[in-house]
Symmetry: C3
């Protein structure tokens, strides 16, 4: 079987009004002029490691084998936090060892490399932009076929952050909002599997948000309620989501990251 070509998927909290992502791309193209680079997003909220971890978890399998994920959400840049390469799922993950790769469980990890070999870095290393000076050139050299062992020394473990999980008591699932998208859809940490474990019949379920008395019916599509009405769905990442059909749930419920969500029979 032919190996799939390398490509680089780029995630950061640099923002699209920034030229930082383009400069990293310039560094990459200087090393590998023929590589394909895809922006996953540069709109991770600044320094939000939890959000980057969630997004990577829900996205990486849609990219082919040999994809190199260049992940720069790096509040500790310039300190002693490590830079790492993880090989897992036939893919490569490059970035700071600060928890952004927590979604990769230990038994899926084939190899971890602590990036040390300065011969692959830019010649001047800043204290504020390792995306440009270290991570981008390392990603580029991997894409030219450099074995990851060349970049440093093996590690046993990566740093992990605690991801909030939902709970179940009194016939109710309690979770919270962990992401809000461009449409104002409120995405919770309540997974489809967790719902199916605790309730046998989806059709009788309703969600509530914080102290709002509104019961929001769980349906299959946004359009199964009338325009402007709230609806709960299992979204395309198998997470419980609260939406307004053709509207904006963030504004409707005045909700923010962390707002409690509950799901119960009614």
């Amino acid at each position: 079987m032919q190996k799939e070509p390398y490509s680089i998927v780029f995630l950061s909290d640099f923002g699209y009004n920034s030229h930082y992502p383009a400069i990293c791309k310039g560094v990459i193209f200087s090393i590998n002029p023929h590589i394909n680079i895809i922006d996953l997003t540069h709109h991770i909220s600044p320094f939000n490691i939890t959000s980057a971890n969630l997004l990577l978890k829900n996205s990486f399998l849609y990219f082919p084998s040999n994809t190199i994920f260049l992940c720069v959400v790096d509040p500790g840049v310039g300190t002693k936090r490590k830079g790492i390469i993880i090989k897992a799922f036939n893919r490569f993950f490059i970035g700071p060892d600060n928890g952004i790769f927590s979604f990769i469980e230990n038994h899926y990890i084939e190899k971890i490399i602590f990036i040390k070999n300065k011969s692959y870095f830019l010649s001047n290393i800043s204290n504020t932009f390792h995306g440009r000076d270290i991570f981008a050139p390392v990603a580029a050299f991997i894409s030219t076929g450099t074995p990851i062992e060349n970049f440093g020394i093996p590690l046993k473990n990566i740093k992990r952050i605690k991801i909030p999980t939902p709970t179940f008591k009194n016939n109710t699932i309690y979770g919270k909002i962990i992401d809000i998208d461009h449409f104002g859809n409120l995405i919770s940490n309540i997974e489809k599997e967790f719902i199916e474990k605790h309730f046998t019949n989806n059709k009788k379920l309703s969600a509530t948000i914080a102290n709002n008395p509104h019961f929001i019916p769980l349906r299959k599509t946004y359009s199964s309620v009338k325009n402007g009405a709230p609806v709960a769905i299992i979204n395309s990442f198998n997470l419980l989501e609260i939406s307004i059909n053709r509207g904006n749930a963030e504004k409707y419920f005045n909700a923010t990251l962390g707002t409690p969500i509950a799901l119960t029979t009614r």
Copy 2:
């Protein structure tokens, strides 16, 4: 003559702070790792079919033959609205059959296919993200040379939305604002041809906005009035546009989509 290579032009209302476009690209690259993907825009205002239709109309001819337009503005996702492929102008248009392709007049359409063949879809189809599950893989398979007949069954007609057209009475053209760009330029539905049909001499024309008493001279360039002054021009899409030279007409006139625009001799 050599056929031009396929490329995919991607339009959606997902927003740039979203990872949804990148996930669709991952799906596409998993099928065709060598395809060129260009973001037309992901900043269509959410669910705005009229705006997507206008933007496609003004853009598609600037892309070469064999371009595949992947168009995901899809408020009815998960309902019985059809997914379609249109072949027209030696290009391909893929998306929901909800009116976003209204600009393609019937006599230009070579073929319409109602997308039905699940063997080209991702294996799990969500109710909320057909961009990823259906439209992206279909676009990718077209780019590998799959004949569009393979994806489903022929249709006779597409759904069309009513586009507002300007009117002429009492020596005045009446239209309205249908788009506002990043510079705050106010773009009307009044086409150059419509103006030339009703007025023989452009040089005597002035525009007005809503009930604002200001007469705005029709000129050839923004810079033909002084900095900060209003000016009307025929813009690069042959539409009447109201601007402020080196300023922002949206803020200046407090204008919004739908605000009336008039053009008359003075």
Copy 3:
């Protein structure tokens, strides 16, 4: 030595909510379907030639030889301002002759061409969108190997804008904020070299902003102060920058472009 392939780096003030950049790309791909296009940024603040000049200065060297910089910040579009191509640093710079290329000092310039040859333009030239009609096709034809002499006639000089420089008196460097990034970092016009010329010991320096009495210590990394505390650093472009560790200095200090910055011993 093999020549590096051409690629096009695209800078404008069109904004990412705009389809204007994509239309320029369509024009380019119609001429050269295999060219690699990288968005440097489209979020230059509208008409801000000074900002475009600074960003190009800090970015261009990270892109390989033979890169073509397509630079469209063009408030004078449609007037008699010239369109130019500059060959310098083994790279090409295309755009209006309005000062955006001021960072290229005369002795680095190999050639300047005043773009005149209409046979390389789109057939209809608007008065408002030379990015699409002139600059994009010229960039595309350069990328196919067309000698730049073909596009017009040589010029001796380019237009230059005056860039504000810092001053030194009473043992203090006085500068100002010239850029604010997505993280709210305040970037000044005070270069590392200027600091080293006037102070021999970095470790004793502190910055101040406008009339704020706070002394901000100059450190090596953001994280050398506690979370939420102000810090001054020499950033990755060798400019003095004021930041809040894991926070937003723009909001903290209520600072804007032009706000005075000072640096002194203490």
